[in-house]
């Protein structure tokens, strides 16, 4: 896109391809020559039907599998062949399932110590660090700061997702990936967690990609929206064009881009 204005690129995907079960009757092209450039501090919402390749894109960025072709550059470093746990040091990720992001048998405090990832393997968290956790948790406004010693398994789904959000952003990741992270929550809690997300992302100027099935929040949140279909990025909008878009337009774009009727109930209902 516009490279002359001095904006720094945080993430670059060049011609990324991934086929699952290659060479078998089950072969499925999940990512087909995807190229994407994400600038530092950009907040992109990603939409598309189920199976369009949205989560696969995240998996490729995180290193859940290695891509077949193409390369992935994160903040100037080629991470294409870097193992998942090493990329995870600089990538925060939230899943739809609130149970997936924290260890239920460990206390809130222990989960946070683990997520902060500071100090050596044999170090323990000091008083100061624990106080910092309490202060951060207080920002969630869920009373979690007074339950530091309680096991995470006792929290509700919404509280757990908020905690996971806190854990994922604790060490200022270069990239925050949100995979429908409010889809499993009730509407009220979802709204709260979403508000919290935008607040944390804005305050820390995080670079963020968010998959959502809610067309309205796809347009409301962030600064850019991309649409995926069959492993391609079929639509990419930002700036004034995006500001003037309505949900109806977006649905129309979807039909145009993919050349077929929209068959996803969840998207229509949104």
């Amino acid at each position: 896109m516009n490279q002359t204005n001095g904006d720094k690129t945080m993430l670059k995907l060049l011609n990324v391809c991934k086929t699952f079960h290659p060479g078998t009757p089950d072969a499925r092209v999940a990512l087909d020559d995807v190229t994407l450039r994400v600038r530092k501090g950009e907040f992109i919402s990603i939409i598309g039907a189920n199976g369009a390749g949205k989560s696969t894109l995240f998996n490729a960025i995180c290193g859940s599998f290695y891509v077949d072709r193409g390369c992935i550059v994160l903040d100037g470093d080629d991470v294409t062949m870097m193992p998942e746990h090493r990329r995870a040091k600089v990538i925060g990720r939230l899943f739809q399932d609130p149970m997936r992001g924290s260890a239920p048998g460990m206390s809130i405090e222990e989960n946070l110590v683990l997520a902060a990832g500071q100090g050596g393997w044999l170090s323990t968290a000091g008083k100061k660090e624990k106080q910092a956790f309490r202060d951060r948790l207080a920002l969630l406004d869920m009373g979690l700061e007074d339950r530091m010693k309680q096991p995470v398994g006792l929290l509700s789904g919404g509280q757990r997702q908020a905690l996971t959000l806190m854990m994922a952003t604790l060490s200022m990741p270069k990239l925050l990936l949100l995979d429908e992270h409010t889809a499993a929550l009730d509407p009220g809690t979802a709204e709260k967690v979403l508000a919290l997300t935008t607040k944390i992302v804005a305050e820390n100027n995080l670079t963020c990609l968010m998959i959502t099935h809610n067309m309205q929040s796809a347009l409301d949140l962030g600064s850019r929206t991309i649409m995926m279909d069959a492993g391609h990025i079929v639509f990419d909008t930002t700036g004034e064009e995006r500001a003037s878009l309505t949900v109806e337009d977006l649905l129309e774009k979807f039909r145009e881009a993919s050349g077929k009727k929209l068959d996803n109930d969840r998207m229509l209902l949104a």
Binding site: H85, R100, M106, E110, L114, A115
Partner: protein, 312 residues
Amino acid sequence: MSLPMILGLGQTALELSLFNALTVLALFLSYSMLNVCDLSTDGCFTLGAAVGAVVAIVGHPWLSIPAAMGAGMLSGLVTATLQTRMGVNSLLAGIIVNTGLYSVNIWIMGGSSLLNMNKTSTVFSMLKDALKDTALGAQYSLIIGLIAVTAVIVFLSLFLRTRLGLAIRATGDNPDMVRSSSINPVFTTTVGLCISNSFTALSGCLLAQSQKSVDVNIGSGMVTVALASLLIGGVFMGRRSIPLRAVGAVIGAFVFRLVYTVALRFNLPAFMLKLISSVIVVIAISGPYLKGQLPLIKRQLAAKFGKAGTER
């Protein structure tokens, strides 16, 4: 039965349970924390006993302890490598290593299945000599057991608070989370199994030296006995802090020994020990499950025989 006799039995039970408690603490790390059922425990226990005995017989009683623990670590490394890097199912990895260790153990013992340490200078005989004329003269076994168990509990309590310890706990607690986090499960599983197996080997080393002999079958059934003790300990401590749960594991080992000692008193033959431990493990694991199923079973029975449930 006279009082001194009861006390004597109690002390023997306590001593033996302290040596076994080290294996229980090993399983506390691998089974309760890392959620890996390490079936190489039997072989590793014997490995520690064999290595410790051979090193002591050669004339290095002190060196026997680190040597046994080192051997245990190596065995843990093999088990961990099989399951984390070579695609072997974790239960199978334990069984394979256990089988292999049988040969290794006999090889270490110089081709014999029995080693005698009657005239060997061991940690126990040395402490016995040192305490000969003091009031604690008869308690040397107990002292060594207490020191070892305390050291392991203190180590575990401190270690499981470190970031590495927390990462090991998380690996067992939520593998999904760990897989997509900056924790490398290969690393945490390997470290956890190396440490736990070093405790198992220490356990075998001390038991063998206290009874002055090693039999190649000294460790057989150990994993079930230790698991039974661990689960009994869990009944006492439940979901409390880590140090308390570790102490609970030791109490569990003692209670198990006590039950066993009492059973022997009632003329139950010694070979029944393993059946008892198996039954205890079954009760401890399936008890809570069956308790949860009870209301459902009642309703099913009621439905089947046309009672209360169907009349509505």
